[in-house]
Every structure is written in C-alpha cells, then in structure tokens.
Subunit: 182 residues, 2 copies
DNA sequence: CCTCAAGTGGACGCGGCGTCCACTTGAGGC
DNA sequence: GCCTCAAGTGGACGCCGCGTCCACTTGAGG
C-alpha cells in the first residue's frame, strides 16, 4: 500500500516547515503546534507520522547521515576502507565535525541526552569505530568505541563553538587523539 | 542576615526528600510538586530556593564534588599534585567513574545536555584537565580538556552500564586513553 | 459512480510549570 | 516579655504544550 497523494504532499510540507523553524530559532523552542501551523496541517496529522520533535529531526538528518555512512562503507580511503585505522578514524572525526557544523540545530533536536544512543545512527557510528579499534588491536573495542564517540556529542560541540572555538581546532584536536590512540 | 531557623529546617527537609525521591525513581520523573509534598512544604517555598530540579541535584552533589575537588588540589598523588600528568588523569578518571557509579541518578538530574557545561563543577574539571594537558605539553589544552572530559558524560555512563558494561571496564578503557594521550 | 480504507484537523483533557499574594513566624529592639 | 516587620510560607491560579480521539473528508480501485 503506497502512500496516498495527499499524505505525501503533507509529509513534504511538514518537513520543509520543520527545517525552516529549526533553523530559525533552536529546535528546543519549536512546539508541535508551531510546526503543524507552519505546515498548514492539523496537530493530529502531524502526530500520525511523527510522535515527537526528535522523529522529525531524525527524518531531516536521514539523507545526510546516509551519505556519510555510504562513504564509510564503500567510499574511497581514508574515509572508506583501505587506509590504516588511525587515519580512517581521523577522517571520520573530520567528517562528523563537518556534519555537526552544518546541521547542529537538527542534531540537537534529535540527540539530546540519552535518546542519542537509541538512534540507529549512533549504533552505526559505534560499529564503525569498534571495527577500527579492533583492527588496530586496541583492548576492549566495544567500550573504547563509546569513549571515542563521546567527544562528538552535539551538546559539547555547541558548547565549544559557543565559546568561540572553531570547528578546525576541534578537528585538529580529534585528529591528534586518533593518532595517539591507535 | 543568616538563614532563619524555619528556613533552615525546610531546606534540610527538601534536600532529604529530594534525595530519596531521586534514588527511588529516576530524577527524570520527579516533579517539583512531588518533592514539595514529600518534604511537607508548599510549591512556593520550594521555588524560593530552587528554581528547578537541576538546582536541587546540584545542591545534593555539592559535598561529594567538593571532596573530590579538594583531593585534586591538595590530596596525595596520584590524584593530587606530584604524579606525572598521565597518572593524575587516570586517577581522576577512576575517581569520576566512582562518583558516577554512586551518584548517577543525581548527576543525571543535574547535567542533562547543555546545562552540564554551565555548572561550576564542569568548569573545575575542565581547568584541572587543561592544566594537566598543558603540563604534558599537549597541543591546544583548552579544546583537549573538553575532548577528554566528554567520555564522562552522565548520559554515556548510564547508557554503558545499562548495556551491562561494568564500571571497571570503563575505568580500564579510560586509563588506557590517559596513558596514550599524554 | 460508489465504497471504504486512509488520511485529516481541531477540540479536548491532562499535568507540570512558575507566579503571586494573603497569611504566619521568628529574630532583634525596646 | 511584647511589638514590629522583614523573611519565610503555601496553595490557588493561569498558562502552555502534549498527546488523544473522533467526526469528517479525500482519493484510489472496482
């Protein structure tokens, strides 16, 4: 049963409206009602697809994440397979900082606190880093993967940039970390 | 103008009640009303001192933090001054994991998301780690300090322990990180 | 054209938040 | 000991966002 025409139209309107609102003010103080009104639909319609703000942000982020995930799995080195683990980790860090820079407002809506770890995306990043750690013969790759992903927490990123720290400095620091860890 | 007797009594009742409630269920679903009722106090009285849950959790954590902060500044090595930076960082990690293990429910009430970075405690930890990084001649100690503190995020700790990871494994992983970084 | 499942929207009830203000209490002055 | 008044108290109140529910509309397939 494919999506009905009017449903598809509304889905598009909702995502467009949400994207704009998230960008304008923070995702934090955009209410479901705001999104519904901006999209010209009722609250009920909104809830039918997206149980909360996080779900909407996830949908918006989806394609960007997919693209990076694709590069990690099958792209050219050092992001994709072929380079030594330390370099792949550094490249991954750089790509993630870039993603945060461009979409921090969305990510923040999504991954606040605990919910971050429940997303499929986190699982994917975790697996990726764990495999790299294992390839580098690091001890306890499972736990190490969490530790190495922690500096990419959106809250931290926003805190740092809010303090005037540039993405470049963050990337540089993470590159150094990657080099020393593996 | 010292605190009035009845005010002091109520402050104690509030903290005791909050501690108990936070421990019983998570801090997440304890309402201000719950705390007020459990303390036998009105909502107004509660708000007079503590503008939100976070403030209460901070007050509860205060003494434990002070104790660790004291040890970092003036205690015996490797926690206090005297040991090489890498060992001091490892000891700090171990102490923090211990603190999280014992008080995760409180910390979680406090440091959810961005608010974590605004607390005085985070500033203290940050300064401590930055000084260690500088002593080890690490590049950009300011940013590195944030990166090295990230794995101590309460949300991550709870996620890991919820997955069956023991505090010992976390400490071990962090110890290895400390050894390689400095 | 008809049917009926899928989709829609807004009214509704709930619950927590934070404020406000009339009342009470206790500490210091006499 | 009593009086005064600022500090402290508590609960009623209004507000707002959430999530649900259901009577209505729309569109695709027969």
């Amino acid at each position: 049963m494919p999506e009905r025409a009017d449903a598809a139209r509304n889905r598009a309107k909702i995502l467009a409206a949400a994207e704009e609102l998230f960008a304008a003010r923070g995702a934090a103080d955009v209410t479901m009602e705001d999104i519904a009104r901006a999209a010209g639909v009722g609250r009920g319609t909104l809830y039918r697809r997206y149980p909360d703000r996080a779900a909407i942000a996830v949908a918006l982020l989806d394609e960007h994440e997919r693209q990076l995930q694709e590069s990690l799995l099958r792209g050219p080195p050092p992001l994709g397979p072929g380079a030594p683990p330390a370099e792949r980790l550094a490249a991954f860090y750089a790509a993630m900082v870039d993603l945060l820079t461009r979409h921090a407002h969305l990510v923040l809506g999504t991954e606040v606190g605990h919910s971050r770890f429940k997303t499929g995306a986190y699982g994917f990043w975790h697996t990726h880093v764990r495999v790299l750690a294992a390839a580098a013969n690091a001890p306890d790759p499972d736990v190490l993967a969490d530790v190495l992903l922690a500096p990419l927490a959106p809250e931290l990123f926003l805190h740092q940039t809010g303090q005037g720290v540039t993405p470049e400095r963050i990337t540089a620091s993470l590159r150094a970390l990657a080099a020393r860890t593996f």
